[in-house]
Structures are given as structure tokens and as C-alpha cells.
């Protein structure tokens, strides 16, 4: 029987850019196609996507891309992959489709797209493989686990999940179906592990209503709430609590307005009667009778909330007595921007509720006991934590061992290394092409390490540009060289001194040597670098330009 391979192209040992291939012979299915966010040293990088080389090398084998849910870390890289594999079917729930269709249209247009809807219980045949989505609870509607049937049993992806017994939309996880799949035989479980360091069982999303309600009741003026624009359940709760406490709701932020509109139209959000108003109608109501839903929970510079915090948002101003509910969790790396935003709001006289004994935010990911529940239901032979950094993988493996799974059945996956499964055993295979691709702020992928190194270097110490004109035939310097700096901070006279030293050096060079532009380039760069470093301890990037006449 043929080999089954589980090949993570992103999303293991990290949080973000989820993309995994299940391959059996000539059949491949791709589970998710997400992006991640740059770390602070990736200067000028907007988003990070997986390297798709392996997929492109095998495009004839891809039977479909299957999306678990509509979060960016699971769907955000689609605009970069789809143009390369036109016509490839993309399977997603009706809801996920609606959300991504919108974004794909903005980015790459809808031509040639082969969007296919599926729903829980459907079984999509993909050559020798088949894929079955199973409904699960998470912080966005219509989230799926994914059961991929292979020759050696079921490869079961939990996707992002929690077990929420009182979900806001009332749609319960299909726990029994997961159990049945477990009985049928899960050869490997790929489980969300991001909250493995939180003991117990996480609170239901519905718990957030309590904190929101409390603020609505006690706030003297307007209540603003910020969360991810994709957090549809949270939007529903804000609307419900506002209606219950006699407040009208206005929405600011393009993505939030769009999502609300889509969800209302598709009935994923039920807007209580006479609750939603336009932004310009806010002034018709007393402050104590309005609430505002806004983007900006990650301190994004262009978001409505950040602009408001700076007093630069034309459509809405913060005022004394406003209360903001910070109903989100900072994505690591955004803390600085978020706190600065919150502090600015306080300075403008607003109150910000960012921590509260009654929850105003709950996580969408399973806590430790929920993760155990998933293992119990699926009873996998092999187990591998995904959607987690090494620390989460480590703790998840420790937990698995404590549940009696022996070491040789636990795998710490690494991007690009296939997990090869045959009838007898599982082991790591030969690496496939993989990696991270950095997309710049203009949307062009492929920012290189060289470019980043230069950016980091210049960002730290600046750049010194040196222009020199050489008459190569005569072997002489023409005119006076120019030394200029940008982003360079040094005592007055530093450049002048470097210039003098360089000039002295140039004058002592023979005509013969002056005919060798390469040699001169090297020499002047070196002289300028050394002199600046000696005097300032700084190492700006020194960029020589030699114009030959």
C-alpha cells in the first residue's frame, strides 16, 4: 500500500501561516493557506506567507484546497497561491466563502476562481483521499475540523477549536461525529495546541456578554468596543447587550462594516430591532444610549480606533466620559502599539476597560482539558501538536505522555519535513522545499535576507553615500567627491573629517591605481568606514558610487 505523507508547509513550531498537505501517491489535498505577521526585525514587511514551491512543483496533483475557517492565519495567503494554480477547487463553508470572496475580489479579482461550498457531513472525494469537514466551535462561525481519509486511516485536523457548549450562534460542535471518526480509526491527530499552558476548561464565548453588559450598564457615556473584525460572535454579543441595556449601535472601520453587512445578510448575525444606527445618527441620542463598534484592536496605525485616539479621525471624536471595552487579545509584537493607543484614549478623558474581573474577552482556543477531550474523542495512534510554538508543542507532548501515549507515537512536526506513514510505522521523511516568503508593504512577495540585513543595518546606524567621479583613462579624480548621510547620527564634523581622510588617501594614490574603479571603490569605502567607526563607534552602511567619465 502506498505511503501517506503529512507535509506541513507552515503553521508548526509557530502560530500563523497554517498550510498542510496530505499526500497519498499522486493525490494531494491542501488544508488551509494562511499568513502570519512579521517579527520586529522584518523591517518593511507587511505579511509572511508560506513558500509554495512544493505545491507549484506538484500542481497537477492538488485535488483541492480545504479551508477550516475564515481567519487570516488560515486563508490569508490565498491571493498569492491562487493565481499560480488557476482552476484549483477551493472548498469552504458558505460563510467562509462570503468572507474570502470579498477579499480575493479586492486583491486578485474573481476570474478563474473555482470556489466550492461544502458543509459539515459532506465527503469530498479526491482520488484516493477523501475529506470530511466536521463542525467545531471557535471564535468565528462555521469552523471545521477536517477528517482526511487515507489508505492508513484518518488524518484528523482539529483546526482552531474550543469546546463551547453555549456558543453564541447556538451551533454545537459535532462531538459524536468526532467520536465516530475516532472509532473508525484516526492514524494521526494534528491538534491546535496554542492554549496548552492554560489549565482547565476555557470559558464559553458567551461569558464575554457578562462583562460587556456590566460596562454598558455602568458607563456614564458612550461605550466603544474594539475587537477583531472577524470576531462575529463578539459583534453579536455587543449588539445583544446594547439592545438589552437600551443603547443604539453604530459601526466604524471598513472591514467591520463589511463583515457586519455580510453576516447580517447571510443571517450569521441577528441585529436586534431598532438597534443599528448610522454614525451620523449618534448625535440624535444621549451618550448614555449609544455604543460604537470599532476596528483597531491591534493598534493598527490606519484603524479607526488609533486615528480616534490621536484625534485624527474625521467621522468620530473621543470625548470625556467615553468608555472603551478592549475586547481582544494582543497578537505578540503589537503590545507597544496597543498600549500607546489605550494611553492616548485615557489622555483624551476616556476610560478603557482592558482587564476586568468579569470577562470582556475570552479565547477561541481550547484549554488543556479541552485538548485532552479531543484526544479522548479521536483516540489517535500518532499525535502531533500544530498551531503552536515550540513551547506549546513541548507542553502538549508532555500532556500526551501523561495521557499514556508512548514517546514513539508523539511527533514534534517541523515545517517542510513530511511525516511519512505506512502500514507499520511513521517517521520523518526527506524535506520538501519550504520556507517563509516575506511580502512587502506594496504587496510584492520575496523580500530577501540581503534586503532585510541592509534595512536593519541602515535602521540602526544610518547610511553614508559617497560619490566619486573618476577619469579612468587619465587616472584622476574629477571634481570633488561628495559625502552625504541619511539616518546617520554623529557629532558635527564627523563627515567632514571622514571626507578629509578620504581625500588625503586619494591624493596619495598613483595614477595607475586610479584607473581601477573597483580598487578605488574598495579603498574609499574602507577608509570612510574606519574613520567613522573610530570617531563615533557607529557602523553606518557606506555606499560608494563611482561615476566613470
Amino acid at each position: 500500500m502506498s505511503l501517506v505523507q503529512v507535509i506541513p508547509l507552515g503553521g508548526v513550531g509557530e502560530i500563523g501561516k497554517n498550510c498542510t498537505v496530505v499526500r497519498q501517491g499522486d493525490d494531494m489535498v491542501v488544508i488551509d493557506c494562511g499568513l502570519s505577521f512579521p517579527t520586529e526585525e522584518m523591517l518593511g514587511v507587511d505579511i509572511v506567507i508560506p513558500d509554495f514551491t512544493y505545491l507549484l512543483e506538484n500542481k497537477d496533483k492538488i485535488r483541492g484546497i480545504f479551508l477550516t475557517h475564515a481567519h487570516e492565519d488560515h486563508v490569508g495567503a490565498l491571493p498569492y497561491l491562487l493565481p499560480e494554480i488557476p482552476g484549483c477547487p477551493i472548498y469552504a463553508s458558505e460563510f467562509t466563502h462570503a468572507l474570502i470572496r470579498n477579499k480575493l475580489d479586492e486583491r486578485i479579482g474573481l476570474k478563474g476562481l473555482n470556489l466550492k461550498e461544502y458543509k459539515a457531513g459532506d465527503i469530498v472525494q479526491c482520488g484516493g483521499l477523501s475529506v470530511e469537514p466536521v463542525r467545531i466551535t471557535h471564535s468565528i462561525p462555521e469552523s471545521f475540523c477536517m477528517a482526511v481519509r487515507t489508505a492508513h486511516g484518518i488524518v484528523f485536523f482539529t483546526g482552531d477549536f474550543k469546546f463551547d457548549f453555549t456558543p453564541v450562534d447556538g451551533k454545537l460542535a459535532q462531538i459524536t461525529r468526532i467520536g465516530e471518526i475516532g472509532e473508525e480509526g484516526v492514524v494521526v491527530l494534528l491538534s491546535d495546541s496554542t492554549n496548552v499552558d492554560r489549565p482547565g476548561w476555557g470559558p464559553s464565548e458567551r461569558e464575554a456578554s457578562k462583562g460587556i453588559r456590566q460596562v454598558m450598564l455602568s458607563a456614564p457615556g458612550r461605550v466603544l468596543l474594539t475587537t477583531f473584525a472577524s470576531n462575529i460572535h463578539r459583534m453579536q454579543q455587543l449588539l445583544d447587550m446594547a439592545a438589552e441595556t437600551g443603547r443604539k449601535v453604530a459601526v466604524v472601520g471598513r472591514r467591520m462594516e463589511q463583515n457586519l453587512e455580510i453576516c447580517e445578510r447571510m443571517n450569521y448575525i441577528k441585529v436586534p430591532k431598532n438597534t443599528l444606527i448610522r454614525l451620523d445618527e449618534l448625535k440624535l441620542y444621549p451618550d448614555s444610549q449609544v455604543a460604537i463598534l470599532t476596528t483597531g484592536s491591534q493598534g493598527e496605525p490606519m484603524s479607526a480606533l488609533v486615528q480616534m485616539s490621536k484625534g485624527e479621525y474625521g467621522r468620530l471624536q473621543i470625548k470625556q466620559g467615553d468608555t472603551l471595552i478592549y475586547s481582544a487579545r494582543p497578537i505578540p509584537g503589537n503590545e507597544g502599539a496597543i498600549w500607546r493607543t489605550i494611553n492616548r484614549l485615557f489622555r483624551q478623558g476616556a476610560n478603557v476597560v482592558y482587564e476586568s474581573p468579569t470577562p470582556i474577552h475570552v479565547s477561541g482556543h481550547a484549554y488543556r482539558e479541552e485538548l485532552k477531550m479531543m484526544i479522548n474523542l479521536t483516540r489517535p495512534y500518532y499525535i502531533a501538536p500544530v498551531h503552536g510554538e515550540p513551547r506549546h508543542q513541548h507542553l502538549y507532548n508532555e500532556m500526551s505522555r501523561a495521557m499514556g501515549i508512548p514517546d514513539h507515537r508523539i511527533f514534534t512536526l517541523v515545517d517542510g519535513i513530511p511525516l511519512n506513514i505506512d502500514e507499520k510505522s511513521a517517521s520523518f521523511g526527506d524535506p520538501v522545499p519550504f520556507g517563509r516568503v516575506l511580502v512587502d508593504t506594496g504587496g510584492t512577495p520575496g523580500v530577501t535576507d540581503d534586503v532585510l540585513r541592509d534595512r536593519n543595518n541602515i535602521a540602526r546606524d544610518g547610511i553614508v553615500v559617497l560619490s566619486l567621479v573618476l577619469d579612468i583613462d587619465k587616472g584622476e579624480v574629477v571634481g570633488e567627491p561628495v559625502l552625504q548621510a541619511r539616518g546617520f547620527h554623529a557629532p558635527d564634523g564627523t563627515l567632514d573629517h571622514a571626507f578629509d581622510v578620504m581625500w588625503d588617501n586619494l591624493r596619495s594614490i598613483s595614477r595607475e591605481d586610479l584607473k581601477d574603479a573597483g580598487k578605488i571603490r574598495h579603498l574609499v569605502t574602507d577608509v570612510v568606514k574606519r574613520d567613522i567607526h573610530k570617531r563615533t563607534k557607529m557602523r553606518p552602511l557606506v555606499l560608494p558610487t563611482i561615476v566613470e567619465v
Copy 2:
């Protein structure tokens, strides 16, 4: 009677660079002289210090600099101020002196320094003012509150504090003395507010022993512990717990070794017998009988821990079975670097304990009830939270109001704005020169906004350098211009295209115009900028160099 002014030059509305002046007529005392750390957009900035213009304009009035304790955010800017005011007395405890003497010696030498020791209970007369340090508990030995007696009552600085009834060094806060000062009459309380959002009463520093002990007992191999090098109490606890559980202790990291040596010599740390070993002696003991104290708790790139996590530290390697206790709190902005370090340690087979039901770290700052206790003891007329961001100030003020202090006696201080106190009232005065001064990685202060703007611009989109040789007399371009880029990410041919467009433009220019270097500079910059932006949506910094021959 003369006016009393409390003038914050740093440390309010922010956490860091604490520096406040109390002025009465011609007498000024300075409380603390600290640094803060750069935010992520301050590229190439090492530390941030207060603008000392006001102090330098009034140097003849400064009667002394009084240090509350030896943390960098209270003493770290001294090397930048002291050379400007030679001979100015610096008052500090024997312990604080020992720690700062070391660093000052490295940075500016000890010549001309006028270090004066004081201890709790001393009263230092400073013209019409006097200063009395009062012992308080914090995460470093010999921390003081500061009572500054003025014509209108006592200006009371809490310094950084918590009320710890079981301090590691056994030295209790002088609570009664604070109460006496309260009875004498505190006109204004300047209180630490950083943990005002934590309810209740914080745990004693000694609680950290429990978690450390537990790890020592259960870890299969070596135990490493990382914390701030200044956290002397934590070092003591590690040594004690190691001795108790039969482990020897080695220390890595220069600053930690230095501090341990100073503290042992001065008897601020009591090393249990036969506990401390040299790093090269580690191999003489089984892994289960050793512990290692290391720097690097903030993910500093050059620290021992970060180097070890990368396998690049020559003196010590991480191995399977090691356990690291992360016994610190991330300074906001460092989260990314810290998690990357921790993840690398996991990848190397170490276990990292970073969260634990039994505490492995406790905060050095007062929680809400402790802050109230301080208000109760000092019974101030005016009150002003310091050492806090606007969010902390807001919550502290709310708390003060709940304790019955009326609004007009609560002040939200702002850097550079004096609080003017006379016999009848207090109000904000005219601003004094103030601000933040950015110090680059070479140690030179004064990185300008222009430099930062260029760095941010280049860091995002790179730089394009254009060299052009003009014969000004003849009005013609000499040789061929050169277009070069660094840190610039764009599709192949982008520069070539920009070059062609520029060249076309140059050729259509009259001889007369070519004699005007300024005009040409403007033109070519503009042409290159536009063309690149049109084709890539990027805005690299375009730097033209015109060499005139």
C-alpha cells in the same frame, strides 16, 4: 512665603526615566536620574534619557541629586548628566553607590564625582529644603522613599515600592516613620502607580522561593534561572533554594557576576557555604546537583541566555533535560525577543518554566491595597500618581477619589509642567524645557526626529541613491548617471526602468537648465520617485548626489 515647585522632567505618564525636581526659590533638589528604553519605532536608539536643559540652566541651584534605589530607570541617565555638573553631590545608600560607582567608572570615570552616602533617617539640609530618605521594600536592597521638607509641607516620593512584610533581606519598611511624616504634614504625595490595576495586596518577594524550590526538586537535570541582574533578592533565593535542595550554583553573564561579587562583599547577599562554583566546575557534578544563574531575561541579543539558546555561547551549552526558570517579567516591547529565546531553548530539548501555579516571579511594585495603605499612612493634601502610564494615572486617580480625596486635590502630572504649590493652593505652572533625548547605540545622545524619520522610511522601503555628474559651465551631463539601491525590494528591472525614464527626462532639458544643479537635483529625484512608486507602490528614500565638475 516662597513658591514650591514639583517639576517632573521624566517619569510621569510613562514608565521609565524618572527624574523630578523640587524647587523652592534658589534651592533645587533632584530626585532620581533614570533612563527608559526605546519604543520599536526609535530605530537604532539604545536608551532614552530626560532632556536636562532645565537642570543645566539652573546648575548653580542644584543642591544635590538624591537616588531612591539602584534600578536603571532611576539612575541610568547619570552618566549623561554628571559630566555637565561636576562636583554636584549625589546622595545614595552605600549599596546603591557600590552598584552605580561600577557603571559610572566604566562610562565616564570617577574623576570629579561627589558621591555621598546617606541612610534612612539622615536629614540632608539643602538650603531651604531638606531631604530625608525612609526605608521601603522593593525588588532591590536599600530602596528609599524620599521626604522633601518645604515651606509648605513635605513633598513625599514613594519611589518604587511594595509593602513586603517578609522581605528576603529581613529589612522591613519603616512604616511608622512614614506615618509620622504623614502626621507632620504631607502637602503632596507622588506615588508609584504601576500596579494599580492589580487588585488586593501583592505577594511577598519571598513567595518566589516556593516555585524555585519546587522546580529544583522536580527537575531531572540542571536548573537555570534567569532574572534581572539587579534582582539581588531573587539571586539570594536561588542560592538558598539550591543549597537546600543540594545543588551547586554557577553564574554566567558579566553584570550578574559583578553584582553578585559586590553584594557578597558588602554582605547584601549571603552565599550558603559550599554552594557557589565556577562555571568550569559544573562538569564535576551530576546535572541534578547544579543550578545556573544567568542574564538574558529580556532576550537581550548579547546576553548569555540568548547566546546559549542559539548554541553560540562558548562557555556553556544547553542540553536535553535542562530546565530554565524564567523568573522575570517582560518589559513591554521585549516580548518577541523573549518568546523567541524560550522557543529556541525548547527546540534544544530544554524545558522552560515561564508560568507556574506556584510563583517563580513576583512583582516589586505595590498592588492596589498597598497603594491605598500608602495614602492612608501619608494622608497627603494633594496627590499625584507617578511611575505610570496614563492608564495607571487614570486608575490611581479613580482610586483616590474612592478614598475621599476630592478632584481639585488630585493632579495628573505631565513631564515638564511644574506643579506650583503655595500656602493656599496648587496649580500647574508654565512649562520648563523638557523632553526625551535619544541615545544611539554608540552612546551619543541627540538622535533627531529627522534621523529617525529617515531610518523608518529606509527601513520600510529602502533607499535609492542617484549619482549624477554635471558640467555646470557647459550645462551638460558628464558620463552616465548611476542608480543604486539598498534595502530596496522591487521586481527586476525597476531600477533600469527608472533610469531610462530619468535619462529621457535629462535629455529633454535645455543647457541653461542643466547649469542649475539645484533644479536638476529636484527634477531627477522627483522623476525617479514617481516612476518607482507607479510601478511598485513603494516609496524608497531617493537620495540624489550631484557632483559638479
